[in-house]
């Protein structure tokens, strides 16, 4: 496909000179969309597996600390004997105060404040625990307990992420179509500019593929050049966004930095765009020439 030399002066066409810059812009946008999509995908997978194996049991406060301790002990006894539970650990009061501090302010949560006791439950990997049955059993033994399996909010969050991912995929497809459209336009312009030279090539026996190969080779080169330029601009942007996200997450978001596999996927973007440009140029030339004598 790669043309070593060209019989047509395609490099001197004015519309063709802008092609690498247009492709660079497309690749820049595509890199941002792809990076976002990959990160969201990784995040959703991590939440799905990380949060899916835990439960939180909440025990309503009783009228004395002694009764609270008894209720916690009874709950732990049931939990530790329940099938599928790997570990059940009460969250100590100090940790509970730390969790409430952002909402109540320093010293806002005192020992006088009636707070529910929380038990962090870790399930055995792959275990299917019936959260509803567990909640029923706990409520019967220790009234005022509630089981939170994170399922409802996790499901909504993952649905949201998948929707954003679908949008990012649509953006990528649109960028691909826009790139192909730009190549079709510049190729048709090139065919029009070099119509006489192409006619001479035809008259001396050149096949359509001979002419198409020259346009395709040039589109491949332009696509690669533009793709690399776009990626060069996208990398610092992504690193900057990653740096800001790391500073802002403050424990609320999981790690959002790009891994080696993500960078490898981004590095493949110029190749994909160049391939789209090459195939589009070839098809455009073949279809246009088929209408000529």
């Amino acid at each position: 496909m790669w043309a070593r030399r060209s019989d047509l002066p395609l490099d001197h066409d004015a519309p063709g000179r802008f092609l690498p810059w247009l492709i660079a812009f497309m690749v820049y946008l595509a890199a941002l969309a792809l990076a976002g999509m990959l990160l969201l995908d990784a995040m959703a997978a991590r939440w799905d597996t990380g949060m899916g194996d835990t439960l939180t049991v909440q025990i309503a406060p009783a009228d004395s600390p002694e009764k609270d301790a008894l209720r916690v002990r009874a709950t732990l006894g049931i939990l530790r004997s329940f099938p599928g539970v790997a570990r059940a650990q009460p969250i100590d009061e100090g940790r509970l105060m730390d969790l409430l501090e952002p909402w109540l302010g320093p010293g806002g949560a005192t020992k006088d404040l009636p707070l529910p006791r929380l038990i962090d439950v870790e399930l055995k990997p792959g275990a299917q625990v019936d959260a509803a049955a567990l909640a029923k059993r706990l409520a019967a033994a220790v009234p005022g307990t509630a089981v939170d399996d994170h399922g409802v909010w996790l499901e909504r969050l993952i649905r949201l992420i998948r929707t954003v991912e679908a949008l990012a995929t649509a953006v990528l497809l649109l960028i691909g179509l826009a790139t192909a459209g730009t190549v079709v336009f510049t190729t048709r312009t090139g065919l029009s500019i070099h119509r006489e030279a192409i006619e001479v090539l035809h008259l001396i026996g050149a096949q359509d593929t001979y002419v198409a190969r020259q346009f395709a080779g040039r589109a491949l080169a332009m696509g690669l050049r533009g793709g690399v330029i776009g990626l060069v601009f996208a990398v610092p942007t992504l690193l900057g966004i990653g740096y800001l996200a790391t500073r802002m997450q403050a424990g609320l978001l999981p790690d959002v930095s790009l891994g080696p596999q993500h960078w490898a996927a981004l590095a493949g973007l110029p190749l994909v765009v160049a391939a789209i440009a090459m195939v589009t140029a070839r098809l455009t030339v073949m279809r246009t020439l088929a209408r000529m004598l």
Binding site: D7, A197, L203, I204, G205, A206, A290, L293
Partner: protein, 258 residues
Amino acid sequence: MTTEGSDCVVRFESVGLRYGLGPEVLQDISFALAPGSFHFLLGASGAGKSTLLKLMYLALKPTRGLISLFGHNMATTSRRQLPALRRRIGVVFQDFRLLHHLSAFDNVALPLRVARVRENEIRKHVVELLTWVGLKDHVNIRPTILSGGQQQRVAIARAVIARPKLLLADEPTGNVDDRMAMRLMHLFEELNKLGTTIVIATHNETLAGRLGHPRLRLDAGWLDAGTPDQQAAGKTAAGAFAAATSKSRAEQSSESAV
């Protein structure tokens, strides 16, 4: 000279051509060229010589009639088959049609590159031919720098480099002096001896007369069979067909007179 049957290199039967809704610029053209023949196509400016050549090198399609090249009926030949046929035809265009961004070397090399000849062979043959046409020192020069005569010689070199089976030349000596014109004609004759069928369109009667090859004469879109003496001597375009054309023209002329 074989003028009938499928072994003809070129065969026209009642070919007519008009542009759009205008009058026919070529009318009832019928002739056949045998392999290895050499013809001059004579006629005044505007007689239709270039148009007739365009039909022969497949740059135009006739509006009526039958054209056959190398035994292929052009009406039933697919577009995909055309490149192979065109590679057997060398053309010297009247306006040269050189590619101005390429050097003289690359222009001449084009037919070989299109035919995927190896680059070392291309270099050898192209330099040899450019030397022969007196352009040894202009191998890497672009056509825009060359004079009209030099461009014409590059165009001729490009037409003959692939040793075509049919060579069509439109005023190939129009921009060169008499000495170079004769030299180029000898090149065509050498090619002819190797089996190439040659048609040279020219308005230079003197040159055609000097070489003595048979003549096709176009007059206002009609093909003339030449003089009876030439017909008898087999020196006209294509005996039977040309004679038939003369007859049809004579009939039409008498009808118009009535």
